[in-house]
Symmetry: C2
Subunit: 183 residues, 2 copies
DNA sequence: TATTGTTATACTCTATAACTATA
DNA sequence: TATAGTTATAGAGTATAACAATA
């Protein structure tokens, strides 16, 4: 069952063709030549938190892509692998809730990971609707390799921040994204 | 010229149908009922900067969408309007470079803004390849209204941070996303 | 030759409605 | 009735190659 998702197959196929287009150039070049051609004014845009956060996230996203090149990981599949590794047997719905991924979007994601042989879906004997998720040995290997590469890249990216600054930054980001449970 | 981009037309049409689905619920609920069903372990994922940044950006993105509902703004079109407002006559390529938007992706973006009557494209008499961008009065009005709403939402979102913390946060984000000009 | 804007195209991520099989 | 997973679909953002007009 479950029609072969061509997108996943295509991704798997495409991967073989990737060589080394860009190594690690996450720069945002504003220069047009040797000189900055015109000065650009940002105005109040620069003072919006959303704008700064988007810019920073863009840098991190590109850096992530460069760091895991060739592994077949995207940031969503990577975070999902990591979550399954730390919570063997977790089901799709719960994993999606925790990572803020909609239920329908989990399907293709998990399918891709099982197609790659990194994750197993097993019927939960206690609730025959649910599917329990487990990492394979290959999945664990990819995850470990991914973590190593990403941590190395991140440490370079954050080299300009002190340990204390990093701690403050993490704390603030968590406070912003922490689930606001109300009623 | 320029075939009518159906996506833009669809968006404009769709807009009229939007009423009030969600008012401002940018919460990430982890709860399934009254009790947290199972405890989930995040492991080293929580210590990755990229992960935390993605989570925070997701919160901001949803909050942005809620705050400008009904105005027809997305975060890209909003930042573009703002840039044009502060740099009248800037051309597409330069605006795209500054905002880190690929050249081809600028086309539909600008087309949408001109279709809405918020931006004018004028041939640059000094370089007949280039198009200079200007805001219309309507564009300026929408931008002003957008800023007012977004700033209000952001102040609520960042209410848990002190002014000093916000300053530090902005400084760090800027240091991370600052263009790294090398050679 | 190089650059501006453009078209075509593809991939990733996000989001909603509706279905199925179980509970 | 409600929930877990699924299908279909659409919108939004990002990315590359190739072209015409102009520099």
């Amino acid at each position: 069952m479950a029609k072969p998702p061509s997108k996943v197959r295509n991704r798997l196929r495409r991967e073989r063709a990737i060589s080394e287009q860009h190594t690690s150039k996450a720069q945002v070049s504003i220069r047009d030549g040797l000189q900055t051609k015109e000065t650009v004014s940002f105005g109040p845009l620069e003072d919006l938190f959303g704008y700064q956060l988007r810019r920073a996230w863009t840098v991190l996203r590109k850096d992530f892509t460069a760091s895991v090149e060739g592994l077949g990981l995207r940031h969503l599949s990577f975070s999902l692998l990591s979550l399954i590794s730390d919570n063997p047997g977790i089901n799709q719905g719960r994993a999606g809730k925790v990572l803020d991924i909609q239920r329908p979007n989990m399907v293709a994601l998990i399918t891709e990971l099982t197609d790659r042989g990194w994750v197993e879906r097993r019927k939960d004997p206690e609730d025959r609707r649910a599917l329990a998720l487990f990492l394979t040995d290959d999945g664990q290997r990819i995850l470990t390799e991914g973590f190593a590469r990403i941590e190395q890249h991140e440490s370079l990216l954050l080299a300009s921040l002190s340990e204390a600054e990093k701690a403050v930054l993490f704390d603030m980001l968590k406070r912003i994204s922490a689930p606001r449970i109300e009623s």
